[in-house]
């Protein structure tokens, strides 16, 4: 069998060119972006990782380790046992959960209802109400008038002063109002109206279900704010120790020697040795972070989408 070896024109070879083009796309900027992103992620992640490692590392090993990267030789959970043996913690966790759940639910319901109403520009007075609400984002009366208002409302030294004043969140009100005004599907609204639904039914049964991603994102932010808030307790409720939220107990563990003494005393009372404060602090911080870290994966699927909602006009 012979093979023709004449000077036949070479067949077109598009692949190498394509490959070359792809290789060119991965340029120096991409390297920089990847490097920067990974570095930034590590800078964000390492402190949390360090805190976690320190909370499970025996003190003798902890003070001898200059850079903690991986699990210690001996994993020790005695700091966690000590923290959970402190009476104030269990109660504070309950208060924080109650404050966060109730505060978030009320805030989402009230803020979304108001945002929906204000997004209806054909209603008289909505522009003025909107301006009044936004005004409070820019200017406030200050701490003392705020304190006196709560005093006159009889809210001081009660659980509700940590929840009710934050029920209308102006920042999220603006986001929701924009969503309802520009991104909510008008056709569905009109169809519901034609089918005989009123404003309230339309809002709850038609509009809100389509706004789930936005509501989830906003709810997460509000929940984080509630979980981390200790200022409202510190200024308005501090005479009632039974109402301490976990964020305040955490803060006290970090800065207040009497709180640290209390943890150590109760740990000794539970049969533990006298523990160094640094490990107790680290364990407390991890416990404070856990609930939000646990909630986040469940809301993540809404999160990226929700972040963009309300940002664009149709």
């Amino acid at each position: 069998m012979q093979t023709q070896t004449v000077d036949a024109p070479a067949p077109a070879r598009p692949r190498p060119r394509l490959r070359r083009r792809r290789r060119l796309r991965f340029n120096l900027f991409d390297v920089f972006v990847v490097f920067f992103t990974v570095t930034f992620a590590l800078v964000c992640f390492y402190p949390m990782w360090y805190v976690f490692l320190a909370s499970i590392t025996p003190y003798s090993e902890f003070i001898q380790t200059k850079l903690m990267l991986w699990f210690p030789q001996t994993v020790d959970f005695q700091y966690y046992v000590a923290v959970f043996s402190t009476e104030a913690f269990a109660n504070a966790l309950f208060i924080s959960v109650a404050k966060t759940v109730l505060g978030t639910a009320l805030s989402v319901v009230v803020t979304s209802m108001m945002a929906y109403a204000v997004s209806k520009k054909h209603l008289p007075g909505m522009t003025a109400i909107n301006a009044l609400v936004v005004f409070t984002l820019l200017f406030s009366g200050g701490l003392i008038p705020e304190y006196m208002l709560y005093r006159d409302l009889g809210m001081l030294q009660t659980f509700w002063v940590m929840v009710l004043p934050q029920v209308l969140s102006v920042f999220y009100f603006i986001i929701m109002r924009n969503y309802f005004a520009y991104a909510a599907p008008k056709e569905l609204e009109e169809a519901a109206m034609i089918d005989g639904a009123g404003e309230i039914r339309t809002f709850f049964q038609i509009i809100l279900p389509t706004a789930k991603p936005m509501l989830a994102a906003v709810a997460l932010f509000i929940a984080v704010n509630h979980w981390n808030d200790f200022y409202s307790y510190m200024m308005f409720v501090s005479k009632v120790p039974e109402l301490q939220p976990f964020a305040w107990v955490l803060r006290r563990t970090l800065v207040d020697p009497s709180m640290m003494n209390q943890i150590r005393n109760q740990a000794v009372g539970s049969g533990l040795p006298v523990l160094p404060p640094i490990g107790l602090r680290m364990a407390t911080i991890v416990i404070a972070m856990l609930p939000i870290i646990m909630v986040y994966p469940f809301l993540q699927r809404f999160f990226a989408k929700g972040m963009m909602l309300g940002a664009l006009k149709e």
Partner: protein, 568 residues
């Protein structure tokens, strides 16, 4: 639609009812008059910084609280906090909901509240019925107390507060390191350093042996006092920035003449010395990162630090340090002789000179002008000032916390005070109540106000800690006291009384804050090695001068002269 409307109704009704419930639990103090007539039982709220109120059962069974309530015929409520405490007190005072008695450490706040009419004139209440308040009447009649009244309120007869004096029975002995004797034996042949050079050599030798040489109590690199007293002052300079109501940063150059030396060339040399020590871990390289009482205590207990300063204000503090830092870490082997207290170090300028005011005001205890029961609140203050009140606070209840001895001296019952005080988050083993203990003396010591003149009593509070000391505690106290006695003559200089009348205005306070910020920033960078001292020092000096260092020095010297004229 109907379903949605029902839900809406439920939500709205729920919110309204919870708000009403919130309003109804606002909680007002029970002030019901008793049937007994003359002095009804009223509720008085007393606030103090830094205790804990988490242990409700411990609080409810507190026998000292009950004893005070019974003696004064009141119901006591406690209020406390650490973070945000002063801001909260200010806010509550403005809103009329503050505790009935609370402290402030700020002269500016005290004067501002007084000026605004927010405070009760205690002298007016007392002078209206001096037989009811004999101890307070004697205090307010004191010439020195009236001098402070004039200083703070502009009128010698107006007392807007109780001035808590931070006098000590013995002068503070800052600048004296405590050594781990085993390390001292290992790297220095057991010899206690006597000079700055010997001390530096010792810390470097300790660092070479694998431990940190020295922890000078400075966890945020903002507290330069111990470093200053130990290393800088013996060399004739002060690297510390100015601080309120002290001569921090200053060196005395003549009669009532003071020079700010924070950025002098001598200070530069000292900072270079410290940077070299820090680099080698002779000065613990964790300074600025580790906590003083937590991490450094723990590391010292584990023999990871060769020497420490903890600003021992009085002999009992060394005893507490030995117990908490050393014995806790070495419960089975700890001996008093494991630790050795050093001496003040001599340098090129001889011994350090540490200047102390004879009666500095440490805190102001105030009563709001809007207080509901001013006479009853002053009843409580009178009781606290009385011999009986001081005994209750500093010795407790006979048979419960102490037994009276045949010689009249009490002997303390083991563990009784710990049990009471642990309810408030205190566990330093002190033999006294954690509330009310610094109303008259910020040293938290007993004051003999009933039998002595106010000025004498508060300048010489009674250190009764030896009364409740175990044999080991007594040994520790004696060891400490002997160090203090030899130290005081050479180092501590008590300023004339007229220095107590020194006042720096708000402008000076602002400059002082700026200077402190600049010093903390530069000194931390110099010592930590983040900034080259040779190139950075001129910038430091320039920034210091631009912030008003020269003006501040002038203001201080003028304030001294003014005080001398007024009080001298």
């Amino acid at each position: 639609m109907h379903k949605a409307a029902r839900w809406m109704t439920v939500v709205i009704v729920g919110m309204l009812s919870t708000s009403l419930a919130a309003c109804s639990t606002g909680g007002s103090a029970s002030n019901a008059p008793s049937a007994s007539g003359a002095r009804d039982n009223v509720t008085i709220t007393f606030a103090q910084f830094g205790n804990s109120l988490d242990d409700a059962s411990g609080l409810a069974s507190d026998p000292i609280k009950k004893a005070i309530e019974s003696a004064v015929g009141i119901t006591l409520k406690y209020d406390t906090g650490a973070e945000g405490f002063e801001d909260r007190m200010s806010t509550e005072l403005a809103a009329g909901t503050s505790p009935d008695i609370f402290p402030t450490w700020s002269v500016d706040k005290f004067q501002s509240w007084a000026k605004d009419g927010a405070l009760l004139d205690l002298a007016k209440v007392v002078n209206a019925d001096p037989t009811r308040y004999p101890v307070l009447a004697k205090i307010f009649a004191s010439t020195q107390y009236q001098a402070y009244n004039k200083l703070y309120a502009g009128d010698p007869s107006v007392a807007y507060g109780i001035y808590s004096v931070s006098g000590l029975p013995h002068p503070s002995f800052a600048g004296v390191p405590v050594y781990n004797q085993a390390i001292l034996d290992k790297v220095n042949g057991g010899a206690v350093p006597q000079t700055v050079d010997q001390f530096v050599t010792f810390t470097e030798a300790a660092a070479k042996s694998g431990v940190a040489g020295w922890w000078p109590r400075n966890d945020k690199l903002t507290n330069w006092s111990e470093i200053d007293s130990t290393i800088a002052l013996p060399q004739g300079t002060s690297i510390a920035p100015p601080a309120s109501n002290t001569f921090s940063g200053f060196v005395k150059t003549g009669d009532d003449q003071w020079k700010l030396t924070t950025t002098s060339d001598q200070s530069k040399a000292v900072v270079q010395q410290l940077a070299a020590m820090y680099k080698d871990n002779a000065l613990d390289s964790g300074v600025g990162v580790k906590g003083d009482f937590d991490d450094a205590y723990a590391n010292f207990g584990l023999s990871k630090i060769a020497s420490v300063n903890f600003g021992f204000g009085y002999a009992g503090q060394f005893r507490d340090f030995w117990k908490t830092a050393w014995k806790e870490a070495n419960p089975k082997t700890a001996k008093v002789t494991d630790l050795t207290q050093g001496v003040a170090l001599q340098g090129s300028a001889g011994y350090p000179q540490i200047y102390q005011f004879s009666a500095p005001i440490g805190a102001f205890w105030v009563v709001p002008a809007t207080v509901k029961n001013p006479e009853r609140v002053v009843d409580l203050l009178e009781y606290i000032a009385s011999e009986q009140g001081q005994t209750t606070i500093f010795q407790g209840v006979e048979g419960l916390t102490f037994n009276a001895g045949s010689d009249g001296q009490p002997s303390y019952i083991d563990g009784a005070w710990d049990k009471i005080n642990k309810a408030y988050g205190t566990s330093d083993g002190r033999g006294q109540y954690v509330w009310f203990d610094y109303v008259f003396s910020t040293a938290s010591m007993m004051t003999e106000l009933q039998t002595k003149d106010w000025f004498e009593a508060v300048r010489n509070p009674v250190d009764h800690s030896s009364l409740w000391a175990t044999d080991q505690d007594k040994e520790l106290l004696q060891a400490s006291q002997s160090v203090i006695d030899t130290f005081v003559d050479k180092v501590v200089v008590t300023l004339p009384d007229y220095y107590n009348q020194m006042v720096l205005d708000e402008k000076a306070a602002k400059i002082q804050a700026k200077l402190a910020e600049i010093s903390n920033r530069y000194l931390a960078a110099f010592v930590g090695g983040q900034m080259d001292i040779e190139t950075g020092w001129p910038k430091y000096v320039a920034e210091y001068q631009a912030a008003g260092a020269g003006d501040y020095e002038t203001m201080v010297n003028q304030a001294v002269q003014t005080a001398k004229t007024l009080g001298g």
